[in-house]
Subunit: 223 residues, 2 copies
DNA sequence: ATTGACAAAATAGTATACGATTTGCAAGGA
DNA sequence: TCCTTGCAAATCGTATACTATTTTGTCAAT
């Protein structure tokens, strides 16, 4: 991409020293390696990345807008703490966004979409490793919504799934298992293949509502 | 500057220097005073606000995450350009979020909510000024969703309404008028007062879909 | 021992400075 | 006339440096 002739075409972002730092911290927060309330010391991060504080601050500011870190008056940034309530509320937003995306996507689905999604579910059934499960789960949902054609909506869904990821990962290891989600995934896909938008949306909504109940129970026990 | 030692004597700012800049630029973008593609020169903004470039850059980075400005490699920031398609897609997201919020809100509504909302609609009917209309319209929707209790959802809705604000303002002056929206607002409120969640959501969805069609037509003519 | 005051260290926030990149423009050649 | 080519000015991005605030540690006084 030595082509300097790409002024807009929003697909690619300009690189800045802040970008790798932003990506690194974001990944560590979302994976749970940086637990809530961890202070994010600017000097330390800057030293580790071999830069000054300025790009570090810009990275942290971006994470602040995404609600992943919190700035306090003269104390700097810490990893944001999501309460039980907020996690459940994120799942309510998931219901809103994903049901709408599916509703818009079903009419646009073509046979190859069905084939690929079914193939994914078969892989799913064989890989029982949890780390793989999480990745495939996210991928399944993304494949369902992709045909909706609304990039901003897809981005919002992706953002939500990342934020909820660590909690859902815990869930499958400790409580839910794979049985129920897999059956529900099949139901959703069948409705899509039948072209029945309402049934597909209803199945998806039930799926997320069930997840929400399990998260609620899990958090109740955990706390 | 000679007295650089005392940029803001005595005024203990609970916020960083970036915050007022962020608010100012955001307001000017959302109101349309800074049209799309306007370059945002860091030195100039810094001079106008009496600060250095550092807080300016942080403000711009925050706006970048919110999709209001775009950074390009060594060219700096410009006001983001929303295409027709993207504006219509934002309305699809509005349908998702607002219908969900209303669905969650209706069961929580109490008599005083109804009274206040009705009072607002009466004010509405009398103020025919466009500037007032826009403000009251946003307020009406917010009052409907408030009882849902999901702060993150409410924040996302507010964000969307601000982004769409300038386009909807144009719409009411040039095309739609006040007749249809007001009737639909009444329908929605009636369903809420009857406690009929499904009817309320259906009415709201029809309301936003109608708006979407008008925006589409308006953009088609305008472009 | 507990508390309060105060000095010292650590950390945040921002201005200044400087190299790097882009842009505007003018002069020179096809 | 149109296209290079080469400065010069403008602008960006970030390292450095400095101030302001918070935190920590020490030492008396109760």
């Amino acid at each position: 991409m030595a082509d300097a002739t790409h002024p807009q075409a929003g697909t690619k972002r300009a690189t800045s020293a802040a970008d790798p730092i932003y990506a690194d911290i974001k990944a560590r927060i979302l994976s749970g390696r940086l637990p809530p309330a961890t202070p994010l010391r600017q000097d330390e991060i800057a030293r580790n990345h071999g830069v000054s504080k300025i790009p570090v601050r810009e990275a942290l500011r971006r994470l602040e807008v995404e609600n992943l870190v919190v700035f306090e008056k003269n104390k700097g940034a810490t990893v944001r703490f999501y309460t039980e309530t907020e996690i459940l509320q994120l799942l309510d937003i998931r219901i809103a966004l994903e049901c709408r995306a599916l509703e818009l996507a079903v009419p646009n689905m073509i046979p190859s979409d069905f084939r690929e999604t079914q193939a994914l579910l078969r892989d799913y059934a064989q890989k029982v490793e949890v780390s793989e499960w999480s990745r495939l789960n996210v991928q399944f949902h993304q494949m369902l919504y992709e045909p909706c054609g609304n990039r901003q909506l897809l981005a919002m869904i992706d953002d939500l799934q990342q934020k909820l990821g660590q909690y859902l990962r815990l869930l499958v290891t400790e409580a839910t298992g794979l049985e129920r989600p897999m059956r529900e995934h099949q139901d959703i896909l069948c409705a899509c293949m039948a072209g029945d938008v309402d049934a597909a949306v209803a199945a998806l909504r039930a799926h997320i509502e069930a997840t929400k109940k399990e998260v609620a129970a899990f958090l109740r026990r955990g706390a």
